[in-house]
């Protein structure tokens, strides 16, 4: 099975993401990377938990002052739904339907971009309303590092998926690009996994106090 071979719906392999040697290596290597990412985010969570509400004076805002349910809920719904749309994209990839895969990836990108816009608004809101900045306290540094790193992953994921969509727009699906789309969707799901812990540990536990 060669990467550049032309396929039809009938000849498309059942697991295109692992059909070639390169694809198998990509799949294994990417999961190894995700193991490392798990450790990276765990250390940022650990730092945040250790430094939560550690502020220099009594006037400084604490977690329970700044976080609000509507904003955190809206961001969560956007990212969770974008995880579903990328599942749909991979469903169409496996069914050799390039157009529908591109359509669902486009929707994923749109939802991800909305999430990122909301996060930018949120950071801006904290800085101006509560003077909660990166340098205002240990709490602020830990918060912006953790949530900002996640936001950085979202931005990188968006750039990655858009690049794949544009570069392969005229090529259609083959065994050269199917593993690329699959790995990018794994990355996108992993971003959502991290967000589940962020909305629970940072926002919800922050509001509890």
């Amino acid at each position: 099975m060669q990467a550049e071979e032309k396929f039809t719906y009938e000849t498309w392999p059942a697991a295109p993401e692992k059909a070639t040697l390169e694809a198998k290596n990509k799949f294994l290597g990417f999961w190894f990377f995700l193991g490392g990412e798990t450790v990276l985010f765990a250390t940022l969570f650990a730092t945040y938990l250790a430094l939560k509400d550690k502020v220099p004076n009594a006037e400084a805002a604490l977690a329970k002052d700044i976080f609000e349910i509507p904003l955190a809920f809206a961001a969560t719904m956007l990212l969770l739904t974008s995880s579903l749309t990328s599942v749909y994209a991979m469903y169409h990839m496996k069914n050799f339907n390039f157009k529908k895969m591109q359509m669902w990836l486009g929707l994923t990108v749109l939802l991800g971009a909305l999430f990122l816009a909301l996060e930018i608004y949120e950071f801006n809101h904290y800085v101006h309303k509560f003077e909660h900045t990166f340098t205002s306290s240990a709490f602020g540094s830990a918060f912006y590092t953790l949530v900002g790193f996640h936001g950085g992953h979202v931005a990188f994921g968006l750039a990655w998926i858009i690049t794949l969509m544009v570069r392969n727009s005229k090529r259609g699906l083959n065994l050269y690009n199917a593993p690329k789309f699959y790995v990018a969707s794994l990355y996108w799901h992993f971003i959502d996994v991290v967000w589940v812990f962020i909305f629970t540990v940072v926002y919800l536990m922050g509001m509890v106090g």
């Binding site: 765990a42 650990a46 809920f73 069914n95």
Partner: protein, 111 residues
């Protein structure tokens, strides 16, 4: 090429089988998504509701997060499929190191 696929000699049969498998998988994923949304709403409601103390709410929402992430990993990221032994090893090694780090930072570091 075609001989590398499990074939019954009648490609239509394989296509039908594959289409059925994909549809079935899609059903699992829809169920997972519904559950994930439901767990998220429960967590937000538990925090919004004044009647619960933090001693109940925090472990409860952490449990909901873990359940939701298991659905994400095993259905959305296909870890329930065959051939995911190495990914599971990598991921759980990461989780183990991460858990020890979080335990250390939240218990033996204080100031």
């Amino acid at each position: 090429m075609a001989n590398q696929q499990p074939s019954s000699g009648n490609p239509r049969v394989d296509i039908e089988y594959r289409r059925k498998k994909s549809a079935e998988e899609m059903r699992y994923q829809i169920v997972s998504f519904t559950l994930m949304i439901f767990l998220t709403i429960v967590a937000f409601v538990a925090v919004g509701y004044e009647g619960f103390s933090g001693w109940f709410t925090v472990p409860f929402i952490l449990l909901l997060a873990v359940i939701q992430v298991i659905f994400q990993l095993y259905y959305f990221m296909h870890m329930s499929h065959k051939g995911h032994e190495a990914p599971a090893l990598f991921l759980y090694s990461g989780v183990a190191v991460g858990a020890i780090t979080i335990l250390a930072f939240t218990t033996i570091i204080w100031w």
